[in-house]
Point group: D2
Chain length 164, copies 4
C-alpha cells in the first residue's frame, strides 16, 4: 500500500459534459483531478489521459493502446476510468494481455458534472480496491468488485452483476 | 466478498445539517441511505444508527456501546461512520475490544449535504476496504487505509497520516 | 402584486433529465415544484403542465394551445417555462394572440438537474418580472428582460440579446 | 433598464462557508461572481464588497457606511446582499437616509456553497426587481418584494412577511 498508483483515463460517461449551445453531451477535459480534490485524496497517483472516448466507439487499437500502457507502466497497481458499455470487453482483453498487475476498471452511470452522479463513490471504491487486491483484472462498480471474465453489465437495470 | 456488511452510524460531520432558522449545524437523520442510492450501491448491507453525536462529545459509554454492537453483530465485516475528531481514539478502543472482525471507520471533513463534501468518496473507499481486508480495525480517510493505533489526525491540515 | 400567478410548463432544457440506461436526455416530470421549494418561494402560484417538449419540436398546435391557456386563465400574470431554441417565436405568437396580460417566458441553457444550471436564477428573475411589469409579452433570460418581437437568441454565444 | 446596477456586498448567510478544520461557519470571499456566472447573467453590474459580516454583528457605523455608499453611487439602482437577521433594520435605515434611488436588499437562508441554498433564486429575483421598480427601498425574499418598513422576518418560519 506504500507504492504509487497509475491512473489511466479513457473517457466514458464519467467525463461527459453538457454542451449548452447544442444540448449534446461531449468530452472536454477529465474531471478526475477535481474529483480527487473533492475526496481530499492524499494518494500518490500518476494520472494520464490515454483517450477521451465513449466506450461504444472503442476499436481494437484503443484496447491495444490501453494494454500497452498498462504493461509499460512502472507501477503494479493501475486504475482505469472507462465507459460502462464495453468495460467488460476491455477487462477481458487486459486479462489476456497484462500479467502480474492489479488493474481495476471503473466508470459512472451518470456524468460527474451532473448532480446525481455515482462517479465519486465509484472512484473511492476503485482506488481502495486497487491498493489491496492481488494481481488480476477487476471491475469496481456498484460498490462491488468483479473479476474480469466473470461479470456482465445488465443493461436493463444499469448495474453490473456476476456471470452465472 | 459474498457475505453481508454491518454498518453502524454514530454521527459526525458526515451527517450534520444546516439549521436555516438559527444558522447552527445539527443532526436530523443519517444521509447514508441517500448516499448509497447515489452511488448505485448493490451491496448487501444491514444499517443501524447507534447514536447521532459529534465525536468530540463521545464519552466512554458511547465507545463501549459501539464495541458491544460490533461484538454482537452476526457479521464479520463492519463499517462505522464516525466524527473525525476522535476517530482514532475509538479505533484504538475497538482494537482492544473486538477481535476477529474487519472493522473500518470512516467519516467526512465536510457534511454530505454541503456541496463540497468528501463523504461519498470516503464511503466508497471504506466499503471497498471492509470487503477485502483481513480482521483488524482500520480508518479509511483521504483515499488511504490506516491501521488503528498507527494513525493520527493532523488537525492543521485536516487530513489523516501515519504515526511516525 | 397581491394577485396569484399562473405558471404554464411546456418542457425545454429546464426539465430535461439524463437517462442513465441509454445516455440520452429525456423528459420525466417537471422540476418546478422542487425549484420553488429550494428558492423558499412563498408566492401564490397555480402550476399546470401543458406539455413536455423540446421547443424545436413545437408545431403550430402547441403554440395555439399555449395561447388558449393564457387567454382562458383567470390570472392576468402568467409565467411560461419554455425551451430556449424557439422561445422568441412563441413570444411573438403570444404577443399577437394574448392581450391585456403580463406574460413572461423563461427557460434554461442547462437542465436543472445538472450541477451547473442557470434554471433557478432564471426562475427567480422571471417570477419577479411577472409580478411588476405591465401587460405585454416578455422573455426573461440572462438576468434581463426583453420584449417579444425585439429579441433574438444568439446561438453562437448561447445568450439572448436585443434585436438591432 | 438600460443603465448599470450597483451591487454592494455586506456578508450574511449568502456568503458563509464551512471551515473543515474546525467545523465553524465563516466568511472568505463573496460567491456573487460565481453565482452570476452560473446564472449566465449578462447584466451591466458594478460589484463592491463593503464588509463581510453576519448581520447580527452590524453596528450603527456599518449601516451608516452602507447608506453613504448608496448615496455616493453614480447609479440609481442598487442591489445589496445582506444577512437576513437584521435586513429589515437596515432597510428602514436606508429608507430614511437614501432618497431617489431604487434599493433592493436580498440574502439567503442557507449559504450558497451548501447544496440547498435559496441564494441563486433570490439573486435572480432581486436583480429583476431592482431593474423595474420605482425609487424606494425594498426587500426581495421568498420570491416576493416587500417595502422597507412594512415587512418583518418571521423567525419561527424562516420567511419574510408583510407587517400587519
Amino acid at each position: 500500500m506504500k507504492q504509487g498508483i497509475e491512473v489511466f483515463i479513457t473517457g466514458g460517461t464519467f467525463d461527459k459534459e453538457y454542451n449548452e449551445l447544442n444540448g449534446n453531451l461531449y468530452f472536454k477535459e477529465t474531471h478526475l483531478h477535481e474529483m480527487l480534490d473533492l475526496g481530499r485524496s492524499k494518494l500518490d497517483l500518476s494520472i494520464q489521459t490515454l483517450m477521451m472516448k465513449d466506450s461504444l466507439d472503442f476499436v481494437y487499437a484503443d484496447r491495444a493502446l490501453i494494454a500497452k500502457a498498462c504493461n509499460e507502466s512502472v507501477q503494479d497497481r493501475i486504475l482505469i476510468t472507462h465507459g460502462t458499455d464495453t468495460m467488460t470487453i476491455t477487462a477481458e482483453y487486459l486479462l489476456e494481455q497484462c500479467k502480474n498487475k492489479t488493474i481495476v476498471l471503473t466508470g459512472a452511470m451518470v456524468p460527474y458534472k451532473f448532480g446525481s452522479s455515482d462517479g465519486l463513490f465509484n472512484l473511492g471504491s476503485a482506488l481502495a480496491f486497487v491498493q489491496v487486491l492481488e494481481a488480476g483484472v477487476y471491475i469496481a462498480m456498484n460498490g462491488k468488485i468483479f473479476e474480469a471474465g466473470k461479470v456482465k453489465k445488465n443493461t436493463d437495470k444499469g448495474e453490473f452483476e456476476d456471470l452465472l
